[in-house]
């Protein structure tokens, strides 16, 4: 695939498709591996499984664009889903030490006993650590903001709890900080990475669960 058409496909995918539990790929391999397909599973913050594809845009900056879609796997609840369109790059590079940044446009859906919702959000994550060609380990910190959420209260909630609950678009009803560690190894074409850390609300209140932990396996091609 020509670089230009590849870039177009990536951008279209990034725009139209969506993703889940942030996979962290080795930025030290962006020049040798162009495309990854991967699957991720873990607690983030519910048990979610996701699949995604990401690719590096050729050029000086070596930006990796990606798209994921995931669904909560507990009780195979397809009403609870998340998609992410991501852009990731190495911001600072000194020997093996790198600082990376990732921005994502996030869409999410849920349906539970008291409400159903569709959410538009964004997330930003920075990592700092050692990135070698066959492994990496880094600390990460980030913020995920639920910018706008369309909430529809359930009939059950209205009947037994609050009949006057308002359906509609809610502005900034949620936000989550995360901080933890991430790392990965490369075994031939196979990349395995993991992330784990602590979750807090934007006002630093605790969450249930208070942590996240995911593992990803991906196959990379030149």
């Amino acid at each position: 695939m020509k670089p230009v058409s590849y870039m177009k496909v990536s951008l279209v995918l990034a725009t139209l498709i969506v993703s889940s539990a942030h996979a962290q790929w080795n930025v030290a391999r962006f020049d040798s591996t162009k495309v990854w397909t991967y699957a991720t599973f873990g607690l983030d913050p519910a048990f979610i499984g996701s699949v995604g594809v990401s690719g590096v845009i050729p050029g000086r900056a070596k930006i990796q664009l990606g798209a994921e879609f995931g669904s909560v796997v507990a009780a195979f609840d397809l009403h609870d889903w998340r998609s992410r369109a991501t852009a990731r790059l190495s911001l600072i590079h000194a020997g093996a030490f790198r600082i990376t940044g990732e921005d994502a446009v996030v869409t999410r859906g849920t349906s539970n006993s008291i409400y159903s919702a569709f959410n538009l959000g964004s997330s930003t994550t920075f990592t700092a650590g050692a990135y070698r060609r066959r492994w990496f380990v880094a600390s990460e910190v980030g913020f995920d903001k639920a910018v706008l959420t369309r909430i529809t209260n359930s009939d059950w909630y209205r009947e037994y709890y609050y009949p006057d609950a308002k359906n509609g678009w809610y502005l900034t009803p949620g936000g989550t900080f995360h901080a933890g560690l991430t790392g990965g190894v490369t075994l031939g074409m196979l990349d395995i990475s993991a992330r784990a850390g602590n979750l807090r609300t934007e006002r630093m209140n605790s969450l249930t669960p208070p942590f996240y932990a995911t593992i990803s396996a991906g196959i990379g091609w030149r």
Partner: protein, 337 residues
């Protein structure tokens, strides 16, 4: 990052306004959860012990006083109001003065700082409620679940102020009992749908601020306790609004430095020789007949009534039966006040 988020928000809001959509604030009272007495002046309210409480009374204040204590901590008295209804032409309010109130930080009462949500303040609040309505007479307490624990804690400290008690599906009266049964209180299977719904919900509505916290807590309120209810989604006991902060604060206060509950509401009950009525639902597996048979022994004189074919919220599902049981109990205690 902050500037970018602000710009994004402004653009999205502008787009919504242009498209005619109204953007709603999740923290404004009345949107996700009903307003409290501080936010809606039309709600019946009383001020005492430094806080403001949602409260209602029924009946003649000169008659024997019954103070109702709802469950939780953090629920409200909406479900208990069923006991004030008229059954077969009779209401408990005909012969008694009924006092319903939402406890500190719960229901539609004022939201308080976590530091004020303590057991000491809870006991002082109930003492103030009793002083306000009793005119010096001992009162009857009717408590459900946590409310029955609360009643016992009060009786333990103030036996002379309580003419009798009806304890419906009481929660554990000691920390030792709580530690023994706690694994059965909530279904904590990591793959349980309710738990994943609850965790996933935080991506949409963070538990920040009382309105959002209270709304979030409703998710899983009943699904998480399948062994309490015969069918969790059929005719559940209604609440106006949960108090999430007190639901967290009081249990947290009861834990010692090792994380174990070590409270004991029964230390001085041996001096309370007044007959106490326990009530349990036959289908309530955790706080049902078995536990209440055991907990009755904390009181020198107690009896148990088991209501058939109903779970934990027996007073909501069988109000006529429970009101009748309370009426009979009060008749047996006639003259105690």
């Amino acid at each position: 990052m902050e500037r970018r988020i602000r710009t994004t928000l402004s653009c999205l809001c502008a787009a919504l306004v242009v498209s005619g959509c109204e953007v709603t604030d999740p923290d404004t009272a009345g949107n996700l959860v009903p307003p409290t007495v501080d936010e809606d002046a039309s709600l019946p309210a009383i001020e005492l012990n430094g806080s403001r409480f949602h409260a209602e009374t029924f009946g003649d204040p000169t008659k024997p006083v019954i103070v109702f204590l709802h469950g939780g901590p953090g629920q409200d008295y909406r479900g208990l109001l069923a006991l004030a209804s008229r059954f077969g032409g009779y209401s408990l309010a005909d012969d008694n003065f009924l006092v319903f109130w939402d406890q500190r930080g719960a229901g539609l009462s004022r939201r308080e700082q976590e530091s004020s949500l303590t057991m000491a303040n809870y006991l002082a609040d109930l003492d103030a409620i009793i002083d306000r309505y009793s005119h010096g007479r001992p009162v009857f307490l009717v408590g459900h679940s946590w409310g029955a624990m609360y009643a016992t804690a009060y009786i333990n400290d103030h036996p002379d102020k309580v003419a009798g008690a009806v304890l419906i599906e009481s929660g554990p009266l000691t920390g030792a009992t709580f530690e023994r049964i706690k694994k059965n209180i909530r279904e904590l299977d990591l793959f349980a749908e309710w738990l994943n719904d609850y965790a996933w919900s935080t991506q949409f509505i963070s538990p920040d601020g009382n309105a959002r916290m209270d709304y979030d807590l409703l998710l899983g309120l009943r699904e998480s306790q399948p062994r309490y209810h015969e069918q969790w989604d059929v005719d559940p006991e209604p609440v106006w609004r949960l108090g999430a902060l007190v639901n967290h604060a009081l249990p947290a206060e009861a834990l010692n430095k090792h994380g174990s509950a070590d409270y004991d509401f029964t230390t001085k009950l041996s001096r309370y020789t007044t007959p106490v009525l326990f009530i349990a639902g036959s289908l309530s597996e955790v706080l049902g007949p078995s536990l209440q048979t055991e907990q009755m022994k904390s009181y020198p004189s107690a009896s148990l009534i088991v209501v058939d074919s109903v779970g934990h919220d027996v007073h909501w599902r069988r109000p006529a039966i429970i009101a009748g049981d309370i009426r009979n109990y009060l008749a047996s205690r006639k003259g105690a006040q």
